[in-house]
Each structure stands twice: as C-alpha cells, then as structure tokens.
C-alpha cells in the first residue's frame, strides 16, 4: 500500500514537473525572441498557469481532494468561489511579505505581484487542492505531527522548498555582478521554481526513506 501510494505520488510529481519544463519550452517555440530573462513575465505566467492547471487536473483525477460533506451544486460553487478568494488573498499576502523583505514598494509592483502569483500557485494552490479552503487545516498541516497522509507530507516538503527557494533567490540581488538574472524578481522566481522542482523530486524520495518512521493518525 505504501509503495503504490509513493509511486503514485512520484508519477504525479513527475507530471507536474514536466509541466514546468513544457511551460518553458512551449513559449520558446511559439514566440519569437523568447528568453527567460528578456520576457520574464511571459515565462512566469506560463509556468504559473501550467502548474495551476496540471495541479488541479492531477488532484482532481487522483481524487485526493478533501472530502466534501454535501454534494449540492451551490455548496460546490461556494467552495470554488472561496478557493478563488483565498488564492487572491494569498497572492496579496505573499506580495506584502515580499515587500516586507525589502522589495520596492511602488516601482515594479507588477513584477512583485507576479512573484506572489507564482509563489501562490506553487504553495497555496496545492493547499487548496488537497485541503480545500480551510485555513484551520492549513495551519494544522504545517506542524510536526499534523500530516495525516503522504500527500500532506509532500505538501509540507514542496511548500517549504518553494518558499526556501524564493528566499535563497533574493541573496544574489545586491551583488555587483551585473548579470541579467539579478534583475528583480528573476532570481527569486527562478529560486522558487527550482525549489518547487526540488521539492517535487525530494518528497517521494524522502517519504520512501522515512516510511518506517511515518505514522499517520487517522483523520
């Protein structure tokens, strides 16, 4: 049972990771003069969009969405609306946090917000997919014995890695190397993406290695 779950997760993660690569390659084929640095926002939104779509598709197909108590249409719609609202709020939250870390407040606000969108689509969106619009559950998941399934553990790992990547991505910005990727927010978005990919890779491996220690409480 363990192995099938881990294998399923690995393949799901592989699909999501490949979507990131596709989102990089496709614009390069379709658009002339495309480069990750030069048309950074295009790349960013393509990655964010594809990650979002693939995430939703994968989790919907796999059925790892939170159990819904009612199946009425209105309830589903209200959940959808709340999810969208939460996603927007998380974008704003990340924007605020990034500004707190020292991002310019007014100039290049669009870039900062785009970074927030990317971060949200790599962290909040997965939370929404797995746990639904339930902040209590989110807070619960991110504690030591809060994970209740392998998917929760993978959520912990990918989210942590994405945020850590964005944090590390800010390090080279003040250096005077004059590289194109030091421009705000390229290094941070690259860091986020790399962190996310690392998390996707790391989660099945880590869970596989620690499968003995992992004990999940029933929901």
């Amino acid at each position: 049972m363990w192995d099938t779950e881990i294998r399923g997760m690995a393949s799901a993660h592989a699909i999501i990771a490949s979507s990131v690569f596709m989102a990089t390659i496709l614009p390069a084929i379709l658009l002339e003069k495309f480069s990750v640095y030069g048309m950074h926002l295009v790349w960013l939104y393509s990655v964010a969009g594809s990650v979002a779509v693939v995430n939703i598709a994968v989790f919907w197909l796999l059925g790892i969405s939170p159990p819904t108590k009612r199946h009425t249409l209105s309830y589903k719609i209200s959940r959808l609306v709340r999810s969208c609202l939460y996603f927007l709020l998380s974008c704003l939250f990340f924007h605020t946090v990034v500004v707190l870390y020292g991002a310019p407040l007014l100039e290049s606000a669009l870039e900062t917000f785009s970074l927030a969108v990317l971060l949200s689509s790599m962290t909040t969106l997965r939370c929404l997919c797995m746990l639904g619009p339930n902040v209590q559950a989110w807070i619960r998941v991110f504690s030591r014995d809060g994970a209740m399934s392998v998917w929760d553990t993978s959520l912990q790992i990918t989210t942590g890695c994405s945020v850590l990547g964005a944090w590390l991505g800010a390090f080279p910005i003040p250096l005077d190397w004059d590289r194109p990727w030091q421009v705000w927010p390229i290094s941070c978005t690259l860091g986020t993406t790399v962190g996310f990919l690392t998390g996707l890779l790391l989660a099945p491996v880590w869970i596989h290695c620690h499968r003995k220690q992992l004990i999940y409480k029933s929901k």
Binding site: T96, V97, V99, L100, Y101, G102, L105, I139, R140, F142, S143, R144, D145, G146, W167, A170, P174, L175, D176, D178
Partner: protein, 1101 residues
C-alpha cells in the same frame, strides 16, 4: 532549612559584573591589537612651505631659486592608473608577448634614442596602494595612511601642503582632466578641471575618451602651465579582466598612442612625466604591499636634455614615489611641500661645480641642501606633535642633520663644490628619515593583526561558553584565577620587554595578559563544556539553529562589499526572516493551535506544568500576530528612512527625513514634517509614560525615579519640541528676534540635557518605583486570600490595572514564610500593628520593579539622543520603540506558548533567537536613523545642538557625535536586560481572567520570581549579557576578518576599513551601555534588598 538556602543563594552581583567586564576587556584588547596593526595612523601637519623657507642660510651668496627662472616652465603629468612597471618595459627578444607585455614600445624608443632626454624607472609606491592614498602620496610627498588624523572626515580634501597648492601659490595654472578623485581631493585648486566619473569599474573608456577629447587642444593652447591627466582605463581593465587579457593589450596600445602624440605636442620647455600610481596583482587588484602592487612605472622625458650627466651609471633603478615631489618642485621652481619626506632625484640635476651650460636651477648639492633642510624642518615639527617616532631614532637623525649642515655650510664658505662624500651623507640622511617614517606609518603589522584576530575569536568562544555554563561558572566563581594569571603574564612580558628592549610595547603586554587569561579559563572549563553539551542535547527552544544561521549569514554578509553597501536592506531582510520564522516554528512544534485533547501523548517525565488552556493559546496567538504586524510595519517604514552611500549611485534616493528642517525650502512641507516629528515625540513620551502607569510604577509620591518619570521626561520632551521649533525657523525670517532665537538655540537643548541628566542621576540614586500602602488590619478570614485592594491611586489608574498589577500577595507570602520560621520573626514583623491584626500591605509596581527603571532610563536617554538627531527623524525613534516592544512581546508570547514560563528547570534563560533579533534591530536602526558606516555620513550637526557657537574642547563634541552615531546601539544594548524581564512582566496576562483562585495568585508575582530565585536570576542575567556580547562580538570578528583577508580588495579603504571602524566603535559603545544596563539591574536589586530589609527588619537576621 529555608533560611540557610536564602543565606547562600544570593545574587552574585559583583561576580556577574566582573565577568562581563572581563569579557568586554578581552574584546577591547583584541580590537585594539588588530586595529593597531591594520589601521596605520599618522598626524597631519597643516603647515605650508613658502619661498622664504628655502632661502639658503648664506643669503646673498646664492640666488633664491624660487625667484629665478626655473628649469622647466611647464610640465605634462600623465598618470596611467595601475601602470605596472612590467607593462612599461620592452623586451625585443620576447617574440610571443603576453597581452600586457611589450605594448608600450614608445618609452623604450625614446630612451634608446637619447639617454639624456628620457629615463624609465621603477616607481616604488607605498602601501596602501589605493588610488586615493597614492594621489595624496605623490602630491604631498608624504606617506599617507588610512587615517591621517587632522583631516576632516566630512570631506576628503587634502589639507596638507602639496604640489598643487604650491603650484597655485606660485601662480602656475594647473589644468586637470580625468579621474574625479582629484576633484574631491583638491576642490577649487585647479585653474581648469575636467573630471570624469571614476566609480564604475566596469567602464573602461569614459574617463580615457573624455581626456583624449580635450588633451591635445589644451596642449596647443597657452593657458596652462601644468597639465595633469589621469587615465583610468588600465586600472579598470585590470579589475574587470585582469592583466592577462586581450582587453589589456588594447588598452595599453591605446596608451602607447597617447604618449606618442603627447610627445609630438611637447615643447622644449616642457617636462613630460608618465607614471602609474601603483601596480596590480595577477588578478588585477591592488591595495596591499606586495611587490606586484607597489612597483609602478615612472617615465621622464623632455626635448631639452634632462639628465645632465647621462654617462653616469648611478641611475637609480628604483625611485620611491615620494621622491617625485621634491624633484618636480625644484624642477618647476616652487618650494617643496612641507610634509614631504622624499629626496630629489639626483641624476636630474647637474653635478656641483659643473658648468651650468645655460641651464638654470639648482645643482645637486643645492638641491639636496634645500631638500635636507625641508625634511629636517618637517621632522622637527612632526616629532613635537606626535610621539610615534622612537626617540632614539630621532636623536640619531638630529645628529646626522647637525653633521650634514655643518659640513655643507663649511663647503659653501670655502666656495668649493661640495664633495661627493657630502652628497652621499645628505642622501643617507634623507633615506634614513624616509625609512623611519615608513616604519612607523606605512606598514601593516601582520603579527599584530593575527594576534588581534585570535584574541577576538577566543573572546567570542568564551562568550559562547559562558552563556552555556553561566550557572556553573557563577557557583564556582571562576574569575579570580584567569584574572590573576592574566595580570601576572602581562607584568612578566612587560618586565621582559623592559629588560631586553628597554622600552615597553603596551599592545603586546595587553595581548599576553588577555590571551593567557582566556586560555586558562578555556582550559579549566573544557571538560565541563563537552560534558554539558552531552548531558543537555537540545536547548529548550528549538530556535537555536535558525538564530545562529541568521547570525552566520549576517557575519558572512560582512565579507562582501556589495552586502556591506546594501547593509541596511540586508539586515532588514535577515530580521524579517528570523521574525517570520518564529511563528512558523511555533506552529511546526504545535504550540500555535490549542491542544486537541488533554490526553495527547506527552513524553513521560516531562514538566508537570499544566498545558495552557485553549483560550490562553488563542489569545497569545493573536498577541503574537499583532506583534508581528507591528514588527513588519516598523521594518517596512524604517526602510524609507535610509541614507544613501556614494557607491549606490543614482539609483538610491536619500530619505527626505534626513535633512534638517531649516534646510527645507517648502514651508508647508516643513510644517508638516515638524508636526509629524512633534506627534512622534509626543507618542514616544506618552507610550513610555503609559507603560509605567499601567504597571503601577508612578504611584510613589516621593520617589526620585517617579519624579523623573512624571516631570523630567515630559519636560525634556517639551524642551525638545520647542528647540525644534526654534531651530527650524529659517535664518532670514524674524530678524528682529534673531538675538532671542540665538539664545533659545543654546538654552533650550541645554535645559533638556540638564533635565535628562538630573533624571538619570535620580534614577541611579534611588531606582525603586514601588509604592507601599498600609491598610487597616484585615479580617482573619483572609488569611490566605488577601481581599481586592480598595485603595485608588491618585493618578487615575484604572481599576483593572489596579487589580492585576499590584502585588499584595507577595508581602503576605513573605510573612507566611516568616511565620513558619521562629516565633521571634513574627513578633518583630507584627510590631507595627500588633500581634494578631497583621498589617496588610499593598505594593504598587513591585511586579515591574526591575524593568521599570530600565524602561525609564531608556526613555530618558532616547529623548536625549533624539535631540541630537535631525528633527524629522523623530518618527524613526518612535518606530524603534514600537519595534523593540514588538520584539519583546514576540519573545514573551513565544515563551508562554512553548510552555517554558512556569518551568523552573530552564531558569529564566533567554534563547538565542530574541537576542539575535535584538542585535539585528540595533543594526537596522543604525541605518534607519540615517547613519551609514562611512565617515562622510557622520552627522556633525549633533556636535552643535545646544552649542551653536562651537566648542573649545574636543571631548564634548566627540561625545555628542558618538551618542548620535551609535544611538540605536546604545538604546538596544541598554534595554537588553528587558529580554529577561518581559516574559515575566506579561506573564500575568494569561493567568488573570476569571481565575483569581488561591493557586493562581501563586503565579502572579511577575519579576518577584527573580527575587525568589537569585541564583537563577544572576545566571540568566549573565547568560543574556554574554549572548548579546557574543552576537555583537561575532559581527566585529567578521568585519575584522573581512578587513584582514580582503586587505588588497579594491574596496578595502572605501568599504571594509570604515565598516570595521564603525563595527568596532559600535561594539565599544554598545558594550559599555550593556554593562550600564546590567549595572542598573543590579543596582535595583540592591535597592530592592534594602527595601525588603526596611519592610521586614528581621529578614536580615
């Protein structure tokens, strides 16, 4: 039994203070040693030579060379930055030259064409081989160090006598083009100047092309006498690509062309000097003292014969850079600059007795004599001002001068040409003077630097160890042995030095003393350190890793010039990271959500403390979020208050809050700023006042500390506001009131100083803010439960505050404990109102008895340093207060939530995270109050607050500027013990509502907990201070390492050395105030002890 415990377990006040003093002293010695080896100091002599000085002693016999026709009417000085001597040599046999070889053939061509017209030398630069220091060196002829004491830090203009000044005095028109460093060094000294920006190292061509556009047209014109052109391309090429790169070949080839065409434009009466200011290493850097950096090229050329005796093979292969100054001066017919220690280049002057051949100017003996006299005059002036030249050396030099002058005067009187021996002894004199000066000014002391670094590292290690072992060290009293050993070793070394060398080398004695005491301490505690780290696997808080990681990142950031330049933002980033990590970690550990069920698995044997009830967790969680929001807000707003470094370029706009109001043009804006500042000042005072009132510290009617809080603090604030109003009025308005304004400008700040000083003095005299109210005897039923107090404070204190911040129970407890003891105690205690009816006593403000004086002192001092800042920076201080409060609350809620509050096993230890946050906040507000670690950004205006007419001494203005510069270090260091008190102060909040049962009242003792556990109190205080010292000391150590390792980095004198100075001074000032804060706490403890004794006379038995 209880009694004996109380007898032995006393606060070890003196030991705590002694240990901290010893730690600080170790740091000071380390810093002193390193700085002594790294920052070479020299006094500037601000005198200038005149033509009268150089008159020959036998006036009349020789013409004053100043007034005669000089040898050359004009000179062209081409400075090619970083022109290494290897670049200038030409080797025919080298068939496959490297990119930097054989690219300047024009020099060799000219030399081989006629040896009497041209000469190529190795130009020996003195360290520090940075462009600015070198320009100073070859214009003043001196050996500039990093700190030339006497120069004004605010601008870099050269005040010492120099060639440019002398040329101007002589009426020569100096035209300058190139590196804009010159424009800063010699403002308004040039006849015409075309500076180009030099900062961007990546830009190879702007400066050079700018020069080339103008140099030929200028040379063709007639309105110049001396033309200085400073090319930067070679240097920048080196920094960017290194010498071994095709770009260097292109650049040198371009320079070759430049020299060639300049030579074509030369006229017969013009001297051409081509030189490099320093060399470069194989990586293209410079700044240090290696041969590759110091060996530049010097090329002299003229159409007229330049070397009168070309046959002579005495051509010096190496010319020290200082020698150019006297040579050029004598060739151009101006006096040698006063502070020059160079000697004339002899081959350029005709030998004595030779026919002059129509040439004018001095011959070799005259030139040397002028030079010797000038150098001797400088040496006398300098040695009368400073005493860094060893006296025995000085007397040798005096004797040599006496011999040379008598010999020369004798030969002049005989009319015979000076003998070669005389010339040689004159040269020997000049050389030995220069060598003496170089030995004391221009050499790093690697041994001293290394010793300083070792000492600092040891001191940091010691701090860490002490913070881990604080309780063990305190029980043992392990200070005496290291102190004795240190003093003994220091004295031994001193005696040995006196015996062997005859004089005392204080730095080494101190180093030996500090080192030996460090080693002894470490040796004695090495075993326990390993043991304790095994026995206690993890610190109570899991934040250790993150906090030390952030500290490590902070230290690493000091090793990169980019991060030092962006320091303000880097620190904010790190602070934000650690601040946001705290709640994440709490949540990870499951402390943020109420425990789901009471029977959740707990490791057996864990603390029996009851887990916090759900409502308390939720409430603390909200408090944590609010504190984080305040922290975030103040971080964000403080970013808007930063100043800009020169290196940040045009992308950085300095904050509008940094300019004094009087300089603001727009009247409405000025009023707005004034109102904002006033509001911030009012809020600052009000918040402090409210806090004190809230905790019942303002009730005692006669207490001096209360007087300070109620009257002196607001009075100082009002005076400050008035002072701002007066100083903000533009000078031209209110002419009729000018006299009054002037008076007010000095009286108002001085009155504020006086009020604050009085407040601090009163606070120190009697720091207690406790008010005791004796009530009528209570009924017998309230034996265990004192009734709610009915007394209402006259200050309008809220009944709620009254309920929760009075500690009536405490006194009852003490009484109970006494009653349990011998009967005589109870008898004596009840003496005031009889045996059975005990006096019920309420003590207001006893719960904050330690923190209240500290808060008040911070408030008083903060108002004082705020007065020293530009008016508009008052919001920065308000932010500082808010952020400090937020940090304290975050720390307190963390302690509460992670359940360490009632845990006596952990004592009162403060974990690493809040200490690191605290220190980072100090650094952050250094930047947010408009300061930068550069000398140009010192706020000199602070010296004139209250003293608009200036000062007579230097101590007072220096103190004021120091207080201004390190204001945030001072305030945070002083307030550091609050980290220990705050969890206790806020403790009451989570236990209060609804539950005032007997058990709960046990808990509501706030800071009296400390009093009950004096041992743990003193060890926690020592630990906190040691941790703070460690965090600050690690940063000093990192910047020391940066300066030592990167001493030949391009930015060492612009970035790393000033950063080191600021970091070290910040540590010095901060540690002093940390000690003051700790001392105040101990002082309060003494006062509290006295108070208890007075209250219960028998307790002293």
């Amino acid at each position: 039994m209880r009694r004996t415990k109380r007898g032995t377990a006393r606060m070890k006040r003196l030991l705590v203070l002694g240990l901290l003093l010893w730690l600080c002293a170790l740091f000071y010695v380390g810093i002193f040693l390193f700085v002594g080896g790294f920052l070479l100091v020299r006094l500037e002599v601000n005198r200038t030579s005149t033509c009268e000085d150089v008159l020959s002693p036998s006036a009349g016999s020789q013409a004053d060379f100043c007034r005669t026709q000089p040898r050359f009417r004009r000179a062209v000085v081409l400075i090619i930055d970083a022109l290494k001597v290897d670049f200038a040599r030409y080797d025919h046999s080298n068939l496959s030259p490297r990119p930097y070889e054989n690219k300047l053939p024009v020099l060799q061509e000219l030399v081989s064409l006629d040896r009497s017209h041209a000469g190529l030398f190795t130009f020996q630069a003195d360290p520090p081989t940075t462009t600015m220091q070198r320009i100073k060196g070859f214009t003043t002829g001196s050996l500039p160090t990093f700190i030339d004491v006497g120069n004004n830090f605010a601008s870099s203009a050269i005040l010492e006598d120099n060639l440019i000044h002398q040329l101007g005095q002589a009426g020569k028109r100096v035209v300058f083009m190139g590196d804009d460093t010159w424009e800063n060094l010699f403002p308004k000294k040039f006849h015409r100047s075309l500076p180009f920006p030099s900062f961007n190292v990546k830009d190879l061509h702007t400066v050079d092309n700018g020069i080339l556009q103008h140099i030929y047209s200028t040379m063709k014109g007639e309105d110049w006498d001396v033309l200085i052109a400073h090319f930067l391309g070679v240097d920048h090429c080196g920094h960017r690509y290194g010498p071994d790169h095709p770009a260097m070949a292109d650049k040198l080839t371009q320079m070759n062309g430049v020299i060639r065409s300049v030579v074509e434009h030369l006229q017969n009466d013009t001297l051409l000097v081509v030189m490099g200011d320093h060399g470069m290493t194989d990586t293209g850097d410079h700044g240090g003292e290696s041969a590759k950096e110091t060996e530049a090229a010097l090329f002299l050329y003229s159409h007229a014969p330049l070397f009168p005796a070309p046959a002579s093979q005495a051509e010096p292969p190496v010319v020290p850079q200082t020698d150019l100054v006297p040579t050029l001066a004598l060739l151009l017919g101006i006096p040698i600059p006063y502070s020059s220690v160079g000697q004339v280049l002899l081959p350029l002057f005709p030998p004595p007795g030779h026919p002059q051949g129509g040439r004018s100017g001095p011959d070799q003996s005259e030139a040397l004599w002028v030079n010797v006299k000038q150098v001797n005059r400088f040496l006398q002036t300098y040695s009368s001002m400073a005493n860094d030249i060893p006296p025995d050396r000085l007397s040798e030099l005096r004797a040599a001068f006496a011999y040379v002058s008598s010999a020369y005067l004798a030969s002049v009187q005989q009319g015979a040409p000076a003998s070669p021996e005389l010339l040689r002894s004159m040269q020997a004199y000049l050389t030995s003077v220069r060598d003496t000066c170089r030995a004391s000014w221009a050499r790093f002391h690697p041994l001293k630097m290394a010793a300083g670094m070792v000492l600092l590292a040891g001191a940091c290690l010691l701090c860490y160890l002490l913070s881990e072992l604080s309780s063990a060290v305190l029980t043992e009293g392990a200070l005496r042995a290291p102190l004795v050993a240190g003093v003994c070793v220091g004295v031994c070394v001193a005696v040995a030095q006196l015996a062997s060398q005859g004089h005392l080398d204080a730095p080494w004695c101190l180093a030996a003393a500090a080192g030996s005491s460090e080693v002894l301490f470490l040796w004695r505690h090495r075993r326990r350190a390993t043991h304790s780290s095994k026995s206690r696997p993890s610190a109570p808080s899991q934040l250790v890793g993150a906090a030390l990681l952030v500290l490590a990142l902070r230290c690493a950031s000091l090793l990169s010039d980019s991060y030092v330049i962006a320091e303000g933002r880097v620190v904010t980033f790190l602070l934000c990271s650690l601040g946001l990590y705290v709640p994440l970690r709490l949540n990870w550990d499951g402390h943020l959500l109420p425990p789901p069920s009471p029977d959740s698995q707990k490791p057996p044997g864990a603390l029996p403390a009851i887990p916090l009830p759900a409502w308390a967790v939720r409430r603390e969680g909200v408090a944590l979020c609010l504190s984080l929001a305040v922290l975030a807000g103040s971080l964000c707003l403080s970013l808007a208050l930063h100043a800009c470094r020169e290196e940040q370029g045009a992308s950085c706009q300095p904050s509008a809050f940094l300019a004094p109001l009087a300089r603001m043009q727009d009247e409405r804006l000025r009023n707005l700023h004034y109102l904002l500042s006033l509001a911030a000042l009012a809020a600052w005072t009000h918040l402090l006042y409210r806090w004190l009132r809230h905790y019942g510290n303002l009730n005692a009617p006669g207490a001096p500390a209360v007087f300070a809080a109620r009257w002196l603090l607001p009075a100082a604030a009002v005076l400050t506001g008035l002072h701002w109003a007066v100083s903000a009025t533009p000078e031209d308005s209110f002419r009729s009131l000018a006299e009054l304004i002037r008076l007010a400008q000095s009286v108002l700040p001085r009155a504020a100083y006086a009020a604050l000083g009085l407040g601090v003095a009163l606070l120190w005299l009697d720091p207690l803010t406790v008010f005791v109210k004796h009530r009528a005897p209570a009924s017998a039923s309230t034996h265990h439960l004192p009734p709610p107090p009915r007394y209402r404070a006259s200050t309008g204190i809220s009944p709620q505050a009254e309920l929760h911040h009075l500690i009536p129970q405490l006194y009852q407890r003490i009484r109970h404990s006494l009653e349990d003891g011998p009967a005589s105690a109870a008898e004596a205690a009840g003496g005031s109102s009889g045996q059975d009816g005990r006096p019920a006593v309420e003590a207001y403000g006893l719960g904050t008895v330690y923190s209240a004086p500290l808060v008040l002192l911070v408030g008083l001092l903060g108002t004082g340093v705020l007065l020293l800042h530009p008016e508009s920076l008052a919001p920065a201080f308000l932010l500082m207060l808010l952020e400090a409060a937020a940090l304290l609350h975050i720390h307190a809620t963390c302690t509460t939530l992670s359940g360490q509050q009632g845990d006596h096993a952990t004592g009162f230890r403060v974990p690493w995270a809040p200490v690191v946050l605290w220190s980072l906040a100090a650094c952050q507000f250094f930047h947010a109050t408009g300061h930068l670690p550069t000398f140009a950004s010192l706020q000199w205006g602070a010296a004139f607050v209250g003293f608009p007419d200036g000062h007579t001494g230097t101590l007072l203005p220096a103190t004021l500027v120091t207080l201004n510069t390190f204001s945030s270090h001072i305030l945070f260091a002083l307030a550091c013990p609050l980290l220990l008190f705050w969890p206790l102060v806020t403790e009451v909040r989570c236990n209060k509502s609804g539950r005032s049962g007997g058990e709960e009242s046990e808990d509501v003792v706030m800071e009296m907990r400390l009093r009950e556990n004096p041992q743990q109190f003193s060890s926690a205080l020592l630990q906190l201070a040691a941790r703070y010292l460690f965090v600050c000391g690690a940063q000093v150590f990192a910047s020391v390492c940066a300066a030592a390792v990167l001493r030949r980095h391009l930015m060492v004198w612009q970035v790393f050395a000033p950063k080191l100075m600021f970091e070290a001074s910040g540590f010095l000032v901060g540690s002093v105030f940390l000690l003051l804060g700790v001392a105040l706490v101990l002082r309060v403890d003494v006062a509290v002890s006295g108070w208890f004794k007075r209250l219960l006379p028998d307790a002293s038995r």
